[in-house]
């Protein structure tokens, strides 16, 4: 018999966007007065566009279940978390929550730089919903987890960023709600720290607590969640087992190896440049999504610059299906730069002899200003391509995800004696699965 921790029914959230200004910006009194005097008989809601960040989202979460929410930027994941953790309220719909909920939308919320580590543990714990007694009881545990015993009386502004993150996560990890809501806090910190975080969250989940998790990190989602919901433009596009939903997510939007990017949601752009479309082509210049190891691959995309034609720098990132970074490809490394005489460009990036293991990969496109300080545009997972088994280079069946880079080093052997030489060079390392 199952008991529910969360039952969401038709959750919707609308934001007003005034056309001339971005959403959620505060206004000055003068602007409101001027607007009101200009159009005295129009109602507020008619004046501006309504944007539905979430539209009729329903789902159930059982007690003790770990559920993951995935989706592109702007799909409504964060809005959903904000609704569930009561930071903001829905425009329509309800959600019934059974159990004490603790939400962790950011590591170190409310940390005050001037206060000592000890004081911040109490402050942060109280902000996350712990009582003073709770914190006192777990204080030693928290400090041990964070490994900051010696610096407890030091103001956290003197902490290294690593210590700061460890302490902040330690407090959150020892929050013991029945339902834990976690946003992509794991995106920060180094790999070891992320592994520690995931491990702690698995502990939480295995203790029978309910976990609601939002991430772009497919590996973390796969590891932690038993159920996944895919959000697209504010609606539930798919839900079910992680494998199926993640596959659907990675494959969505560009089944044919070409994607129209102009209408895809993404974080607020600064307007310097925007990607319009992207496609992948094979050696025969056909649009294609499946490639073999050793193929030539062309990534092409359309870029529109603002009329001012700002200096623009382009970067591609390739990630494996589980989110593992494979390569960050910058125009600088190839000595390429974009001319400044046009405002619309078709750009192609040719990979010769691609050496990736079979599996799905996704490509993120970035446009920044020349100094990397301002992001003009970023399209996560703009393209997805597959490397399939077979092709001119593969001599055997290659297991999926046995690795990332396919290497074919030169192997040699020469007659040897049985004597063991301690000072011999490193043993031959070739393909591990030979």
């Amino acid at each position: 018999m199952a008991q529910y921790a969360i039952q969401a029914h038709g959750l919707s959230k609308a934001y007003r966007i005034s056309p001339e200004r971005g959403p959620a910006q505060y206004r000055t009194l003068r602007e409101t007065l001027v607007e009101a005097s200009r159009r005295p008989f129009r109602r507020r809601s008619e004046r501006s566009d309504i944007f539905w960040a979430l539209d009729d989202v329903s789902f159930d979460v059982e007690q003790g279940e770990a559920i993951g929410f995935i989706g592109r930027n702007g799909a409504g994941k964060s809005t959903l978390l904000k609704l569930l953790s009561r930071i903001t309220r829905p425009t329509r719909g309800t959600a019934d929550i059974y159990g004490r909920m603790g939400s962790l939308l950011e590591v170190g919320t409310g940390f005050h730089p001037e206060l000592s580590g000890r004081e911040n543990v109490y402050l942060n714990g109280a902000i996350l919903g712990m009582s003073r007694a709770d914190i006192r009881r777990r204080f030693d545990e928290i400090v041990a987890f964070a490994e900051v015993e010696r610096f407890l009386e030091t103001p956290v502004k003197r902490y290294s960023s690593g210590m700061y993150m460890r302490l902040a996560f330690a407090v959150a990890a020892h929050l013991q709600p029945e339902i834990l809501v976690v946003d992509e806090v794991l995106a920060v910190g180094d790999t070891a720290f992320q592994a520690k975080c995931i491990g702690k969250m698995e502990d939480v989940a295995s203790e029978g607590r309910t976990v609601v998790f939002v991430s772009h990190n497919m590996a973390a989602i796969t590891q932690l969640c038993s159920k996944v919901v895919l959000l697209e433009s504010g609606v539930v596009a798919a839900s079910g087992s992680p494998d199926q939903v993640i596959a659907r997510y990675l494959g969505s939007g560009n089944q044919q190896g070409r994607a129209d990017l102009s209408r895809r949601n993404r974080p607020a752009e600064s307007g310097g440049a925007a990607f319009e479309w992207a496609e992948m082509r094979n050696a025969d210049d056909e649009i294609c999504q499946d490639f073999s190891i050793g193929d030539d691959v062309r990534v092409a995309f359309g870029l529109r610059l603002a009329p001012t034609k700002p200096r623009t720098k382009l970067v591609l990132a390739i990630k494996a299906a589980d989110g593992t970074p494979v390569a960050l490809i910058s125009q600088d490394d190839s000595g390429f730069s974009l001319g400044s005489d046009r405002d619309s460009w078709n750009i192609s990036v040719d990979f010769e002899d691609i050496r990736l293991y079979p599996g799905s990969y996704h490509v993120t496109l970035w446009a920044t200003d020349g100094t990397n300080s301002e992001e003009f545009d970023r399209v996560e997972d703009a393209l997805v391509f597959r490397i399939v088994d077979g092709g001119r280079l593969t001599m055997r069946h290659l297991p999926r995800y046995a690795g990332i880079i396919f290497l074919t080093p030169r192997w040699r052997s020469r007659p040897g004696e049985l004597a063991i030489q301690a000072s011999a060079g490193p043993a031959d390392k070739g393909t591990a699965h030979g």
């Binding site: 199952a2 008991q3 529910y4 039952q7 959750l11 934001y15 959620a24 505060y26 206004r27 000055t28 009194l29 003068r30 409101t32 329903s58 789902f59 159930d60 059982e62 007690q63 003790g64 279940e65 559920i67 569930l84 953790s85 009561r86 903001t88 309220r89 829905p90 329509r92 719909g93 309800t94 959600a95 019934d96 929550i97 059974y98 159990g99 909920m101 939400s103 950011e106 409310g110 005050h112 001037e114 206060l115 004081e119 109490y122 402050l123 109280a126 902000i127 996350l128 712990m130 003073r132 103001p155 989940a205 295995s206 029978g208 038993s226 919901v229 839900s239 079910g240 992680p242 494998d243």
Partner: protein, 311 residues
């Protein structure tokens, strides 16, 4: 926790048994299980209604946060200063000396018999609490924008906590008043006990104005800039550097629409001795303070629900 009937299925990557497909409520197979465990806290998230009640039980549940936030404000205030808490003594004392020199010495404003510095210091007890409390609490929500957009707790805790942090300064200033009075005036008397209810009254006034300003400044930062001017204007509209008796009789009722007039007179009556009890002023101040508080609370709860979307 009492729901051990739910056996967690920790699947191994790749061989995952799908437990039940999520979907629209009602299609899930486990309808029998929808009744909540009686031990669990139940909460319903729903669209805001016109009066989202400020729930006292919820405030009580967050009492520790309230204390810790107030503590934070106090601790942070004088970090990395040499004189630390002495600033609390120095600031009002220096201000009182300046006022005594300018208004008492040069301008020769009447002080109804008491030494001018005592006269002005007694008034500065409630006034400084108001000015400091309103300044801090009025800007508190903007200052804690990071909290508001990332964690849930009753928002009203933020202005009340930062306002409460100012009570420490108030207590220290009261100590200074005792010393000054022993040196220059009559010394402590029984009427000093009246400071306690008078402080509650001024607290109610500050609470109302703080809720009003802090809530509106989330929407319109104009209020942040308006606030210092408002406080200054209010100061000159209150009997801080002059005596209420300076106001012509026909303006007295109008003048006392400002609850601080009665309150300051109350403080002077309690602390300086030898004056008439300001019955009319206080009689007006009580309902005025309550009205201010209710207006502030109303405005606050009306706009509170969308703080996170706007801030």
């Amino acid at each position: 926790m009492g729901h051990d009937r739910v056996v967690r299925n920790r699947p191994i990557v790749g061989v995952r048994a799908q437990r039940h497909v999520m979907g629209i409520r009602g299609t899930s197979p486990a309808n029998s299980g929808t009744t909540p465990d009686s031990q669990l806290v139940y909460h319903r998230i729903s669209p805001p209604t016109s009066w989202s009640n400020v729930s006292l039980t919820e405030l009580w549940a967050f009492r520790d946060l309230f204390g810790i936030l107030a503590q934070r404000d106090i601790k942070v205030r004088y970090k990395q200063t040499l004189l630390g808490i002495f600033w609390v003594v120095l600031q009002p004392l220096a201000t009182a000396l300046i006022f005594a020199a300018v208004f008492g010495g040069f301008a020769k404003l009447p002080s109804d018999g008491a030494p001018y510095i005592l006269f002005v210091f007694a008034a500065m007890l409630p006034w400084n609490l108001l000015a400091a409390g309103l300044t801090r609490a009025g800007n508190s929500l903007i200052g804690d924008a990071g909290l508001i957009s990332k964690v849930y707790f009753p928002r009203i805790i933020i202005p009340i906590a930062s306002l409460s942090a100012c009570l420490l300064d108030f207590a220290v200033t009261c100590g200074v008043m005792i010393v000054l009075s022993a040196l220059l005036g009559t010394g402590p008397s029984l009427t000093w006990l009246a400071v306690a209810p008078l402080t509650v009254l001024v607290f109610v006034v500050i609470l109302g104005t703080s809720l009003f300003f802090s809530a509106l400044s989330v929407y319109y930062r104009d209020f942040k800039y308006l606030l210092p001017f408002a406080i200054q204007a209010w100061m000159y509209g209150s009997p801080l550097v002059y005596a209420t008796s300076l106001i012509p009789p026909r303006w007295q009722v109008l003048y006392h629409l400002n609850p601080m007039a009665g309150i300051i007179d109350g403080f002077r009556w309690a602390l300086l001795g030898g004056r008439e009890f300001p019955a009319t002023g206080l009689l007006m101040a009580v309902p005025e303070a309550l009205a201010i508080f209710l207006v502030g609370l109303y405005v606050f709860q009306r706009v509170e629900r969308s703080f996170a979307d706007v801030i």
